[in-house]
Symmetry: C2
Subunit: 703 residues, 2 copies
């Protein structure tokens, strides 16, 4: 073996080869931008996931929920890498208060760790990794067999341990130094048994102690800090109920008021909704006001569309006098809060021609040579009563600031959820800015994007900051459509930032299927919405009372739509689905499996009219299996494939399926299970799985 | 209709709402970093593809080849977006010379355009998009029906056209202004026919002219410039032949020389190889020299392993005296170039214990307390004759510079391809820097990464700049393994940067299967390598002469391996596969379909012993279908599914399959086609498809 010619610290004389090397001045190496100018940074972090567009946008989660982060880490050669997940709150000022979680190596250079953001707001996470001299030595030592190798390796290790001691807390320093000394002494003692030496080197307790003080001088930092937004739980789990306050009056012909809505609050809370959402509550334009059923000319008593916002008496920060006063609104918000409900307001950034902005800020609109503004269109729909804002206005800064202040105003009135009307017809950079600014001050505020448009556009809005998004659910009716769409929603890349909020109906969409009006159909679509998606909503009372006539054949518009006129609803109707909906919402409330979307998986059933799927809580303790008969007319039956092992049941062991809708209980065993559903009774099962092998709660649980 | 209260240019008085807005000073909006501080930038570019790690690394292509770029572009509302692919050479100085290619909208907000880098070197590409007022107006006008709408819209359009005229070349200015004037005049003339006005507004020639001068003031630029490296064609299409020059002597026992190799060059070129690759040609260490068959102690005549680089007489820039002189090496490189061949050198950054670096740069090695250096290991392999470099050396800058200068030295000697030995046991940041620096000065230089290791590590090396990469091909033998692996290679994310170079054997790997030695097997594996991958190589003459005995049972090492001793080869052996290999290489040379990998698709055959796949040239004019019998012993037959339409043949029309190996011709028709292959004859078909409906060349083509 060649002996070392000079101590390693000595600087060697400039040799012929070193001279040749000087043609590329060693002090001017241009290193990759993410190396920090340090070439000895040998650990590689090839990816950190999840990440939305490489960290350009935030992933979304809920405060307190576990976020699982994976990284692809490795190094050259056979040295041992250690990796650390790092996360910090992000106040927006660049300051960081890093918390570290050791990552665990899984297979194939994939590492994993989790953290739970402790509060709502913005966070960042990233990964650090380093080639660990001590762990490398330790791993190497386990492979050493030759006594001479063990002796030399022990001396090397002793040096690493001395270095660890220098980094250690005072309490641990002596222990480490004693260990190093013992290794050195024994290694130099030719009489010392090599196996005993190896055992000393591999002492588990001491190894664990040294591992606490790693040498991280040449640590690699992942190229990016990835953003995360932690919302309050309602972002992930919410049950929405939309109503027109002006139709809340029990007396036909009288304009409804906030007081009328207040009287309805306990009933709505009873049905289990936790977000009560109102169409715009502002003064309604008189110029070009729409009449009943979207008539181009309004009668003198016509109330117009609430989305034609603004009149002489005020705009987006004012309340339509007929609904009540600001005091009454605030009182309503407080009463709702007392019942655990948010009031969500509809924010529609558009103006009736007589909105005050049109006078005070003409620069915010696009004027044509004839002195008019082109009204809003969403082909084939025409909104003659609405002017769009011009997002290319030279005065855009003032306009942005004013629009954002609309949110601020209503937040000041107690509102914490906004359903934003057609956000995809307003400039995208505005949303990123406005939502970002609002959430900086009010991280509890949620935004629902009402964009029924092309997939990439909807995804962009979610990336820009919208907390929840409307979906295509309304138009996904067959088993195949539902399976493909919800698989994409729950497992596609959007699952990191796009939270679906699914609606069987809206004031704009009475789907052709619902025009049938059968109770079985309304129950079926409601169960699908409420169990496929943790966030769902209905436009009521039209839904529970099965208002189902279209304005005309082939239209998705309601006949005598509340969008253009007052309606009166009979909440005491014996046919109302409210009790059924209450039962479904209660099941959602009681079962964590239904309060998130990631775990959704579809189960095989060889019958295209039966759809079955399972969801489970993060800890696996709560498993819900939903089966829905998609045929509104006929009894359907089939065999559902549910592997016992997949729900934590031993093969061969039986388990109980407790239908929380009917309160019936079934004993299942094996992999395939018979199910039959009669749409004339209840077209669905929502089973909770009760397992002998799990906690007692499984068997003690009653609806 | 509400009349405009003031001209749009007039600044409105500060109103109540505007005052409220001032609480968020409009001049201090904090915009997203990629907006350029301009809120009117309404076009969204959500993605530009391909991109490797969001542009952290370059995609790879070949100069002159078409690179297809897609982008996801859209805007708010219904305005029309235009998008432009932008590309520029990148000299590394930040200067850009942008070329623009208009992108075409496909479905679903996906846009596409192509460009062909005109020369080798580094390029960048990105995308710009903008909401186009003229195109938006034009699109709107096509939908206008009401005469009044047409008149107003014509006036609006005239203003856009006047604006375009101001941006136009002088020659076009008057045409545009005349058009605008005509539109304005006609629009204000109540007697003018509205349909005629609409026709004038939609004049195609004038519209196209105006479209040449778009208003790009509020253009969106994609967040990143994405890098691309354009190599010379050999990066994508190469046929490698590895030989040990020291075994090139025709006389048994005499050390081979460069002169001997020079004598072999015409024969090697005849067989169709275009890269001739040598294991290291440097002085070989004497300390710890290995004997025959990796014996730990060398005999006095043993020549040692060429990878034990360096001895008293020199290191990585020197030539082993027995091989010849630097002049003879340069002459060999030139002779090879004259035959269209590159000489590729093996660069192994490691040192024999008597390498001059060990004396002159002790700081580049990791010395142990006993004054020794731990020899290199690649468990379970041990390289007692090799010291690894210490990439955590304090003197790393000088070491990097010196190692890089090794490439520079051989480039100076005419070498343009380097096969890098075990790059994954050297620090990754070094490779990115060294390859980047070399390619800045010598973009024609190619690097092949010899890393047989875990997938993410191999991919990282390709990202860092290696032009080609060894693969797992050697260990992929069954139809399922080959199908899955090559589908991943040709369609997975790596296809943008990882160029496979597949080898049926190497001096280190005599796969168990090849130890059978049957000619059918060697032909089968060669056809697979040469047709599945545009880059392939063999270690010869061991391959064509079917050297197939392992050092011991269960080993992948050759018995009497050239790694440790001289060998003599009988190139005149009548059993040599050289003529067969020549035929396969000729087919590769003549058929562009086999010179790239992206088009690979596997064809169904209901026989697990038959594998079939098609490749086609970029323009579709050349289609090759390869069928291989994976059973070395038995005749196998089956029906291959090849849909006529997929190869540009009309349904029902027959086409000719010309087997370029046997020169047999078959007429196929319909979708399923019978094939039978006898391994005792030739175990493969390499069909070129000849179609009546295509060019005459299809039928005139003969081998």
């Amino acid at each position: 073996m060649q002996k070392k010619p000079a101590p390693p610290t000595e600087v060697a004389a400039v040799s012929k080869v070193a001279k040749a090397a000087q043609s590329t001045p060693a002090t001017h190496l241009s290193l990759p931008s993410d190396s920090g100018g340090e070439g000895r940074v040998r650990a590689v972090i090839d990816a950190v996931l999840p990440a939305v567009d490489a960290g350009r946008f935030a992933i979304k989660c809920v405060a307190g929920d576990t976020v699982k982060i994976t990284a692809h880490c490795f190094t050259d050669g056979h040295d041992v890498v250690r990796a650390m997940l790092r996360w910090s709150a992000d106040a927006g000022d660049g300051a960081r208060d890093w918390h570290e979680v050791p990552m665990k190596a899984l297979v194939n250079d994939v590492w994993e760790a989790s953290f739970a953001p402790p509060s709502i707001g913005r966070f960042v996470y990233t990964v650090a990794a380093w080639v660990d001299p001590f762990e490398s030595w330790h791993h190497e030592m386990t492979r050493r067999i030759e006594p001479e190798d063990i002796r030399i390796a022990s001396q090397v290790g002793a040096m690493d341990i001395i270095a660890a001691a220098a980094r250690a807390q005072v309490a641990d320093r002596d222990t480490l130094l004693r260990w190093a000394k013992a290794l050195q002494t024994a290694a130099l003692d030719a009489d010392h048994n090599a196996n005993a030496l190896k055992a000393l080197a591999l002492d588990e307790t001491l190894g664990e102690l040294a591992g606490r003080y790693p040498d991280r001088r040449f640590e690699t930092h992942y190229v990016a800090e990835l953003p995360l937004f932690a919302d309050r739980k309602r972002a992930r789990f919410s049950s929405w109920y939309e109503l027109f306050p002006r139709s809340a009056s029990p007396e036909p012909g009288r304009h409804g008021t906030f007081k009328d809505v207040e009287a309805r609050l306990p009933a709505i809370a009873e049905v289990g909704f936790d977000v009560l959402y109102f169409p715009p509550i502002h003064p309604i334009g008189r110029t070009q006001r729409k009449g009943k059923n979207n008539a181009l000319v309004a009668g003198k008593d016509d109330v117009g569309s609430p989305w034609a916002i603004g009149a002489a008496e005020g705009g987006h920060k004012s309340i339509l006098a007929e609904l009540g006063t600001p005091d009454e609104f605030r009182q309503l918000v407080q009463k709702a809060a007392g019942l655990g409900m948010d009031i969500a307001l509809d924010i529609a950034f558009q103006c009736a021609p007589d909105h005050p902005y049109v006078q005070s800020h003409p620069a915010w609109f696009r004027w044509r040579p004839d002195g008019t503004v082109q009204y809003a269109e969403n082909p084939p729909k025409k909104y003659q009563d609405i002017y769009p804002f011009n997002f290319e206005s030279d005065d855009w800064r003032a306009m942005w600031a004013e629009l954002k202040s609309v949110f601020d105003h209503w937040i000041g009135e107690g509102v914490k959820i906004f359903r934003v009307d057609n956000p995809h017809t307003k400039a995208f950079p505005f949303w990123e800015w406005a939502i970002g600014e609002v959430k900086k001050e009010h991280p509890e505020v949620l935004f629902l994007a009402e964009a029924f448009t092309r997939p990439k556009v909807m995804h962009r809005l979610a990336k820009l900051g919208f907390s929840q998004s409307y979906t295509y659910f309304t138009w996904r009716n067959s088993k195949q459509e539902l399976t493909e769409y919800f698989t994409e929603l729950s497992t596609g890349p959007g699952s990191d930032y796009f939270r679906p909020n699914v609606w069987p109906n809206t004031p704009d969409i009475l789907h052709e299927q619902l025009q049938g009006g059968e109770a079985s159909l309304y129950m079926m679509r409601l169960v699908l919405a409420a169990t496929l998606s943790a966030n769902y909503g209905i436009y009521g009372p039209a839904y529970e009372l099965r208002d189902h006539l279209p304005r005309n054949s082939g239209s998705e518009e309601y006949l005598d739509s509340e969008k253009y006129q007052l309606r009166t609803w009979n909440h005491d109707d014996a046919q109302s689905l409210a009790p059924f909906i209450a039962r479904v919402n209660r099941i959602r409330h009681d079962n964590p499996a239904l309060q998130a979307d990631r775990s959704l998986r579809f189960l095989p059933v060889e019958n295209d009219q039966l759809i079955a799927y399972a969801k489970e809580s993060e800890d696996g303790s709560n498993v819900i299996v939903t089966v829905v008969n998609l045929d509104r007319y006929n009894v359907q039956s089939g065999w559902i494939g549910l592997d016992a092992a997949s729900i934590g049941v031993e093969p061969g062991e039986s388990f109980q399926m407790h239908d929380l809708l009917s309160n019936q209980r079934f004993i299942w065993q094996g992999e395939f299970h018979f199910v039959q559903l009669d749409p004339h009774a209840v077209p669905a099962h929502i089973f909770v799985v009760r397992r002998r092998s799990r906690t007692e709660r499984d068997f003690d649980y009653f609806l």
